[in-house]
């Protein structure tokens, strides 16, 4: 039974939870939210370089009380401000051993660190919903506030950090020579295996900060399915970009996501991939073999699985139900033609010469059925032995990911093989056991 995903995914990428939500709300402003003296605040994400946990900093005397000191950000020395002291808000007793939640801001005047009570999450809203600030909402002087906004029953006060901190963010020239005491503190917090918390208050990682941008510029939705890959990719990215994890442009997003794609995307599977697929197939798949292949695009995946099945089961009745919501791609699939040089040798027994080039023979053509269909409209899928669903789930909303996987769980048997994208981990999304082999990421349903 498909359950309505009533779990409010209070994932740390806020309201970009579903594509519908994103479209409906017309999100054009994202803010990192946090609490300060018991109230909720937000800062324009464009001003936030990164979220940090300040574990050790160097106290600098003779500065204003709200300047806690300086902090070593991978070699850069930046000032560290305690916002609570700055605005005379109640601050919890600080223990020297406890790391503090905070943000590294990139202001016009430079980098600056701020400490807050607790970082909450990244929230996306429509800038139209921002109201002018009213003194009743804030403990802070109105001139430091950009506005207030309500989101999911919480009121956020948006801080104008340029105004508040602008002058304070200069390189502190008067800082005395630092002893090498400031511990090299990685300000990319450890990648965490966060299960989305139900209460909406959790720990934000760099991955959570990058996720909304990935989503809005490419449709990629980070979730338990692919978080691990994102975190690894961030480390890789950071190393290759001088420590920066700022990803804001389309080009950066495209470059970031480039290694995500599974092998042979948009092409025929070749021997190494085929071998692994073959080894996964049960030897006794006689009778009917049913394959579900959503997101088939131009059809290469569907034809690949059809041919590898036909090769190992010459007599079986095989049916591949392939679909895609890209009309242009999928409508060309039934009559796909290609040149000999594009075709890996494995497929030669299955093709014939046609008027427009090489195409698949009648047997293969009747095996694969291509449909123009949107996976989010599908309520039931045929009982299948194999599901090929590569790099599709990662571009659906979290709710849709769970819904589709629930459908898969229901329409399969314990023998069913689910081939996912190489960087998609179904075991974190339901009752799936990892049976991956070689290049192929695959799971069975428990």
């Amino acid at each position: 039974m498909v359950q309505e995903a009533g779990i409010r995914q209070s994932t740390l990428f806020g309201s970009t939870e579903t594509e519908e939500d994103a479209q409906r709300d017309d999100i054009d402003f994202k803010m990192v939210t946090f609490s300060l003296g018991g109230k909720d605040y937000g800062v324009d994400i464009m001003k936030v370089k990164e979220i940090a946990k300040f574990e050790s900093f160097t106290f600098v005397p003779n500065t204003q009380p709200f300047v806690m000191g300086v902090y070593n950000l991978r070699g850069d020395i930046i000032s560290l401000i305690d916002m609570r002291i700055m605005f005379n808000l109640p601050a919890p007793q600080r223990s020297d051993l406890q790391p503090e939640d905070g943000l590294i801001l990139r202001l016009d005047s430079g980098l600056i660190g701020v400490v807050v009570d607790r970082i909450d999450r990244v929230v996306g809203i429509s800038s139209e919903s921002i109201q002018p600030p009213h003194p009743i909402f804030a403990d802070i002087n109105l001139k430091y506030l950009s506005g207030v906004v309500e989101h999911e029953d919480r009121l956020y006060i948006i801080l104008d950090v340029e105004r508040i901190l602008g002058e304070t963010a200069e390189e502190p020239e008067s800082v005395p020579e630092l002893p090498g005491s400031a511990e090299a503190n990685s300000s990319v917090p450890e990648a965490r295996d966060d299960r989305p918390a139900q209460t909406g208050v959790g720990t934000t990682t760099t991955a959570d900060m990058v996720a909304p941008t990935l989503h809005s510029l490419s449709g990629f939705t980070m979730s338990d399915l692919n978080r691990h890959w994102v975190e690894g990719r961030i480390e890789e990215w950071s190393a290759g970009h001088g420590g920066s994890t700022q990803i804001t442009t389309q080009e950066e997003v495209d470059e970031f996501l480039a290694p995500f794609a599974s092998p042979y995307t948009g092409r025929f599977w070749e021997e190494d991939y085929l071998d692994a697929v073959r080894s996964l197939l049960a030897a006794d798949l006689e009778g009917g073999i049913n394959v579900w292949n959503p997101g088939c695009g131009g059809g290469y995946e569907a034809y690949s699985i059809a041919c590898v099945l036909r090769a190992s089961h010459p007599e079986a009745r095989i049916k591949v139900w392939a679909s895609d919501n890209d009309l242009l791609s999928v409508s060309a699939a039934p009559n796909l033609t290609f040149e000999k040089r594009e075709l890996p040798a494995f497929y030669e027994p299955f093709v014939t010469e046609g008027s427009r080039g090489l195409g698949f023979n009648a047997d293969i053509k009747q095996i694969v059925l291509f449909e123009f269909s949107d996976i989010t409209h599908v309520n039931t899928i045929p009982a299948c032995n194999i599901v090929v669903i590569r790099d599709i789930l990662s571009f659906l909303s979290v709710r849709e990911q769970r819904r589709v996987l629930a459908m898969v769980e229901e329409s399969t048997t314990t023998d069913t093989i689910v081939i996912s994208g190489s960087n998609e981990d179904l075991s974190r999304m339901g009752r799936f056991a990892d049976v991956s082999t070689g290049l192929v990421r695959a799971f069975t349903v428990q």
Binding site: V330, S331, L369, S373, D374, H377
Partner: protein, 158 residues
């Protein structure tokens, strides 16, 4: 919906409308809807059976139905109508028959066996929303008389 079925319906709709109305007919971009229910006010429905199960319907507003029916009647030297009377309903129903008939013939030539059931016309007051959760392909057609959506919801049998 199976990819091969799309063109026959698109072409039949365009060709028949152009022929009976003698006007310029523009086809809008095709899209998929999660529910197949008609939404514009008047729907002429024809059931499909054979290799598939499902139905085709012509979805349009009452005003467009009156305009289209009048256009068809006038091109046959008959009197236009100013309300959706029995003749108007019969005309729209016949239009659905013609479009679906032509599509089915094309499909037959492609090797697909489709059967048609007699048409029905439903309007806002007696609109039944059955099969609400079936995916539908929408082919929007724009004419001087208004907009019509060809709404096709069919599933492979077996």
């Amino acid at each position: 919906m199976r990819v091969e079925y799309i063109n026959p319906f698109v072409e039949a709709a365009h060709s028949v409308l152009k022929e009976v109305l003698q006007v310029d007919v523009q086809r809008g971009e095709l899209y998929l809807k999660s529910t197949a229910a008609p939404v514009l006010g008047v729907a002429a429905i024809i059931g499909l059976a054979g290799d598939v199960e499902g139905r085709v319907l012509l979805d349009m507003s009452r005003a467009t139905a009156i305009q289209v029916a009048s256009g068809m009647l006038q091109s046959m030297d008959m009197e236009p109508i100013d309300e959706l009377n029995e003749m108007g309903r019969a005309t729209i129903t016949e239009l659905a028959n013609m479009i679906t008939g032509q599509a089915v013939t094309k499909l037959h030539n492609l090797g697909f066996k489709f059967d048609l059931t007699p048409p029905a016309l439903v309007t806002g007051d007696n609109m039944e929303i059955s099969n609400a959760n079936v995916e539908a392909l929408i082919v929007p057609m724009e004419m001087p008389q208004g907009k019509m959506e060809i709404n096709v919801a069919i599933r492979e049998r077996g």
